[in-house]
């Protein structure tokens, strides 16, 4: 695998948009990986949280937007809570989700029409509302 780093990709406006939306500075991350180490849903991720930040640092936005990771995050905020540099991955993740959802691109993980009848009739309302807001825009 080879990566040709292009300066214009590093300076991609959309990556600055991720920083603005998430209020996080990507270069503040020094890649200790503590976010990944404590993530409760990391098993289901294809790219671990610290790698998502790394990919953004080196200009690979597309790869990140196509990752399964951003839909797996449950916003439990453990990553943000423990980050030694105060980088809140949970916010970055939300920003990435929003970038996909606001373009009205389909969410590969959840369609509003497909929320199961059991969930509608059984799960706490807060869970259904939260899921729709987080994962369906």
């Amino acid at each position: 695998m080879r990566l040709t780093i292009k300066t214009e990709e590093l300076r991609d406006e959309l990556i600055r948009r991720v920083e603005d939306l998430s209020r996080q500075s990507l270069l503040q991350c020094y890649q200790c990986g503590k976010c990944s180490a404590g993530c409760p849903v990391v098993d289901e991720m294809d790219v671990i949280p610290s790698e998502i930040i790394r990919l953004l640092q080196i200009g690979r936005l597309e790869e990140v937007l196509n990752s399964k990771t951003i839909w797996v995050c449950a916003s439990c905020l453990q990553c943000a809570s423990r980050c030694p540099k105060g980088v809140e991955f949970s916010n970055i993740c939300d920003a990435l989700r929003q970038m996909v959802l606001r373009k009205r691109l389909s969410n590969p993980r959840m369609d509003a029409d497909e929320v199961s009848a059991i969930m509608i009739s059984d799960a706490p309302q807060m869970g259904v509302v939260a899921a729709l807001r987080k994962l369906n825009g």
């Binding site: 990986g33 503590k34 990944s36 180490a37 404590g38 993530c39 990391v42 671990i48 030694p84």
Partner: protein, 653 residues
């Protein structure tokens, strides 16, 4: 006499010249009244630069010199020396700071920066015009040093000062000297036994004819100034006469009261009457009244007193204040580990098998609580898997300390290696962020641990540690593999951040020494004066100034000692003459100056009915000058007239 001032504008490479038009500045100043010569040069502080100044003084018969360059804290002394050599009184050589106060802060506006540089220099010309020729003030000096802190840095500093021929008092808060180094097992990268190289030094300093060792003692007060400090040292009550005690140890053997041993980091017990460790210097106990049965139970016990063959136990003993005079003070108050309680994600100290690096040192030490065997605290089992964590509280600006503690990479590598030497089948893991091995032989040591001792280094930080089913479960990450890592270990060792000794912070406050925001003592200049404090007469050694390993601490201690010897090499101490004086003709004797002087340098002369400044004490702070209602108090070479002229020059145009 018509003054003849020379102006020398330094480029400081591109530091100044990159922003300020130095040619134009020199040219403008050349036209200024009183300036006989003006020029510029790339590096005025260099040898050719200084020669240029000296030659110009002679050639143009200069009466005063302005060097427009960096801050006077850097090179004022340099150019004053050059002036003296060439025949200008050093106090008629002035620095105009056009770097820190001009080029560095106005990089965006070259024109304005150039104009400001010209003004700054003109103000200094105005000052120099009225500068008097002064001589340093000679004051008597006590050729005796005080070293605070009896760890390796303090011991080394005391030895070096004493060996240079000066009396030295070494004060240590604890019952024995030795500090943290005495707790260590073996030292990186050579694996020397710490005790073996440490104890001879402890004995040497204790027996040195010029060293007065005061253990179990604290600094109560320091007054005076460089060359002439008065110190009050509190000898804490040990409840026994340590001069009479022969160190037989019977009292410790028979004492019924136990508490946890500080020296063994809580892994073992000690008696209430105790020496911290068998090789303690002095090898005489102290009685800890907070844990003593006699004191806790209204005099019901007294076994030590009954059994002591030389009858040195004295329950009535009180703290004793010893007063002394010294000329210089070396502060070597050392470090503490960052509290494990602050690392809640690693259990905050609630898991017995998640231990600190110093606890592991005690465990590895042949004289430690397990006699050098690695046994985990919960059940005494030999751990088959041990995880070592770097950066526990270091490099964490969000929640803990932002700085690198510098020694943890190396000592944890050593820990992992020594563990493998003792438990051959065991597996050691080290979680690291960057293995920092900048030291002689350090990289080779790290390589050896990884390649020969099969220590597995995992790049990433641990997020959580918990104990479950008798295992210490570590949730980490291997960022190189891109995976979360879970290890079921038997024990975890935390490389906790190095922080300044808690008690040392109070001492620094008392001595009014500058510290950084974390409490480490600040050096006078980070590069060029790394072992001196900004306060004259105070020198720094060891981890009190910042995290450091043993060789660095020793080197700094020797450097501090050489600075002390340098100071003591003169019979008298020469003080700066830029101090206050009082015009006897106009002084009305109101004594405002006496009341505002923070150094008690202003005194009232009852016979003459006027105030007077004691030259040996005045620090030149200017408080009396601002307070004096009749302007009788004036600062030498910074008189009201000079200040007014400088202000006018600055406001002109």
């Amino acid at each position: 006499m018509e003054e003849r001032i020379g102006v020398f504008v330094c480029h400081c490479g591109s530091n100044i010249a990159g922003v300020v038009d130095v040619k134009r500045v020199a040219e403008e100043l050349g036209k200024y009244p009183g300036v006989a010569y003006s020029t510029d040069y790339t590096y005025m502080c260099s040898d050719p630069g200084q020669t240029m100044v000296k030659d110009a003084i002679k050639e143009h018969n200069l009466s005063g010199v302005i060097v427009a360059a960096c801050s006077p804290t850097l090179h004022e002394a340099t150019f004053r020396r050059a002036g003296r050599v060439a025949g200008v009184n050093p106090y008629q050589v002035e620095i105009a700071n056009i770097r820190e106060q001009c080029s560095w802060v106005h990089q965006g506006d070259k024109e304005a920066a150039t104009r400001k540089a010209i003004k700054i220099i003109k103000t200094m010309v105005e000052k120099a015009r009225l500068d008097e020729a002064l001589d340093p003030i000679a004051v008597p000096m006590t050729h005796k040093a005080l070293v605070v802190g009896g760890g390796i840095a303090g011991i080394q500093a005391a030895l070096d000062i004493a060996n240079a021929g000066y009396e030295t008092i070494l004060v240590e808060r604890g019952p024995s000297i030795g500090g943290h180094m005495a707790q260590l097992s073996e030292t990186f990268p050579t694996l020397d036994c710490s005790q073996c190289i440490m104890t001879p030094k402890m004995v040497e300093v204790a027996q040195h004819p010029r060293v007065k060792l005061m253990t179990y003692s604290e600094i109560d007060d320091v007054s005076g100034y460089v060359g002439n400090f008065k110190v009050k040292i509190r000898k804490k009550a040990a409840y026994l006469d340590r001069d009479i005690c022969n160190g037989c140890g019977l009292c410790m053997e028979k004492c019924p009261a136990k508490t946890t041993s500080e020296f063994d980091e809580g892994l073992a017990q000690r008696k209430a009457i105790y020496t911290p460790f068998p090789q303690a210097v002095p090898n005489k106990p102290v009685l800890d009244r907070d844990h003593c049965t006699y004191f806790l139970n209204d005099g019901k016990c007294g076994i030590c007193k009954k059994i002591c063959p030389v009858q040195c136990i004295d329950y009535e003993q009180e703290d004793e204040i010893v007063e002394d005079e010294v000329g210089a003070i070396v502060v070597a108050t050392g470090y503490d580990l960052y509290p494990i309680e602050n690392l809640g994600e690693y259990g905050g100290g609630k898991y017995p098998d998640v231990i600190t690096s110093l606890q592991f040192e005690r465990m590895l030490s042949a004289s430690g609580p397990t006699e050098g065997e690695v046994k985990r605290p919960s059940d005494g089992k030999v751990p088959e898997t041990v995880v070592f964590l770097t950066c526990c509280g270091s490099r964490d600006p969000e929640a803990h300390m932002p700085y690198c503690s510098k020694v943890c990479c190396m000592y944890l590598t050593k820990h992992a290696m020594l563990y493998k030497h003792k438990v051959h089948d065991g597996q050691a893991y080290v979680f690291y962020m960057d293995v920092r091995t900048a030291g002689k032989g350090y990289e080779e040591f790290y390589t050896r641990a990884a390649e020969e001792d099969d220590v597995l280094f995992l790049r990433g930080k641990v997020s959580k540690i918990f104990e479950e089913d008798g295992k210490v479960v570590v949730w980490g990450v291997d960022t190189l593999a891109g995976r979360k890592v879970e290890i079921e270990a038997d024990m975890a060792v935390l490389g906790l951040a190095t922080v300044p000794n808690a008690a040392a912070k109070d001492l620094a406050n008392m001595l009014k020494l500058h510290t950084d925001e974390w409490g480490f003592l600040a050096e006078a200049h980070p590069k060029l004066r790394p072992v001196e404090s900004l306060a004259p007469g105070f020198y720094l050694a060891g981890a009190a100034q910042g995290p450091k390993d043993i060789p660095e601490a020793v080197a700094q201690a020797s450097a501090a000692a050489s600075k002390v010897a340098h100071l003591f090499a003169e019979e008298e101490y020469h003080r700066e003459p830029i101090i206050a004086w009082i015009d006897e003709d106009t002084c009305a004797g109101c004594r405002v100056c006496v009341s505002v002087c923070p150094y008690d340098a202003a005194e009232f002369d009852v016979e003459k009915g006027i105030a007077r400044i004691q030259e040996a004490i005045c620090e030149g702070c200017g408080a009396c000058i601002a307070a004096c209602p009749s302007a009788s108090a004036q600062q030498r070479n910074l008189t009201d007239e000079q200040v007014y002229k400088m202000v006018s020059a600055a406001l002109e145009g």
